[in-house]
């Protein structure tokens, strides 16, 4: 299990600060285009579907499916205690999200399995959007 207090932690930007503020309260929010309604991830200034500048941050379900995953046995930094699970999660709202799967037995992992956000607190300011099997 990764000790998230020891890993390179996010340094929020002006664009991403609302996301991290919401995460700190245990809420997963995504940008949604004000023109075409498409959700996007990662945060971008313009819509990745229609280039609109209009967007709002909206709370999403936190539910999705396990698009795919890997169990990592050779970590880039010692703070990532192996084995850990790196995954692409497909959110109900559409976007793909790179994350870690936590609190889940590795033998139960399966492509397309339902997952849900399960925040892991790294420190007072940063609450990480890890996921677990539902």
């Amino acid at each position: 299990m990764t000790d998230f207090a020891q890993v390179p932690l996010p340094r929020p930007t002006a664009l991403s600060q609302p996301f991290w503020d919401a995460a700190n309260e245990g809420r997963l929010i995504l940008q949604r285009c004000g023109a075409c309604g498409v959700y996007r991830w990662t945060p971008q200034i313009l819509c990745t579907a229609c280039l609109s500048e209009e967007f709002s941050w909206e709370e999403v379900s936190g539910r999705g499916t396990l698009y795919s995953y890997t169990i990592v046995h050779r970590a880039p930094l010692a703070a990532f205690e192996t084995p850990y699970v790196l995954a692409t999660v497909e959110l109900e709202e559409g976007p793909l999200m790179l994350t870690q799967i936590v609190e889940s037995a590795h033998e139960r992992l399966a492509v397309d399995a339902p997952v849900e956000v399960a925040f892991t607190r790294a420190n007072e300011a940063i609450n990480l959007y890890t996921f677990r099997l539902s």
Partner: protein, 393 residues
Amino acid sequence: MNGDRDIAIVGVHATRQQRKSGRTLVSMWRESILGALDDAGIPIEEVDGYISYMFPAGNGMGWDDGAIAEQFGRPMAFTAQTSGAKAVLLAGSVIRAGLAKVVIIPAAGAQSLAGDMATYTRPTFEFTEWTGSMTPAQYGIMARRHMHDYGTTIEQMADIALNSHLNAAVNPQAVRYGQEPQTRETILNGRMIADPLTQPMCSIVNDGASCIVVTSAERAKDCRHDPVWVIGGACETHGNSYFEAPSLRMLGTRDLMIDGFRRAGVRHDDVDIVMCYDHFAHGPIVQFETLGFCEPGEGGDYVPQAIRPDGVHPSSMDGGNMAYSHNMIPYNFKQIEVVKQMRNVVEDLCPGWREGVHTYDRSICRKVRDPKLSVGCGPLTDARHAFTILAKD
């Protein structure tokens, strides 16, 4: 470039590829350029086009187009930043448009000093760095999805890696040459990096440089070797590797890739060599599907047999990214290996290789029989695709 034989690769050179070489980027970069121009028989004074990624970073700021002109001590008519197949296609367009006459495409990398793992695929980015993402893990995610969607097996992927390792075992220039031999079993039982990918199913990490010289058919007449014609290709940029979540979206560009063959008037069945981009063991499977050599889902059965030196579309005859060289920007090597195979200048363990005499016995030979039409890929990953179609007379 729609089947025309008006643009040619006339010079290629690769420096010694090795781990922890102790050499500087600039030194290897210089050697690769002078070597490729010597191979072409073109004096450096004729070079008026330069295409390369911003490596080597000589002044810490990268070598931008201004710094390149300063280095050569005179103006450059055309500069741009890319590498491999895309750079060759761009050079052809530039020469045809009259913007430059002789374009060099150097690529130098020295990444093994930083350790055993590539660092450039781990950007300082707030949505990836905390996850423990790194290159093999990203591609492990894609490999597993391909296995799920199409029933691709770990044994099929191991056989892809085995082809690269067997070829490197008879290529004295390969980084892994002379190391312990690999079998399907040693690959499957290798050190697990990011499952399903074991260490022998991943790219190696080393130093080295390479350079390609591209010019017009008219200038090629006076060059040292017969020209290798650039008769077609295609490219597409699909996304931002290592920043965004890995997926199999590259299969979505299939139609555009296949159109590249149609424009050149080339049937897939007529292609001999397909130097694909074997960055990880599943890579060639997905690439053959993306390029249209087989349908999505057929690659697992088709590719392991096809890419052997005696197969219908040999690949990675040099040992590829997994066993010849991954110097951070290995795209040029796919073009270079095609050129060497088509020129019949392939160093292996056959006693007569210097005279172009090969045994086609795989225990000592990695030569493809008489290739006339070839595909050189790279980059060809989840997010960036390019390939050339190369031909000889």
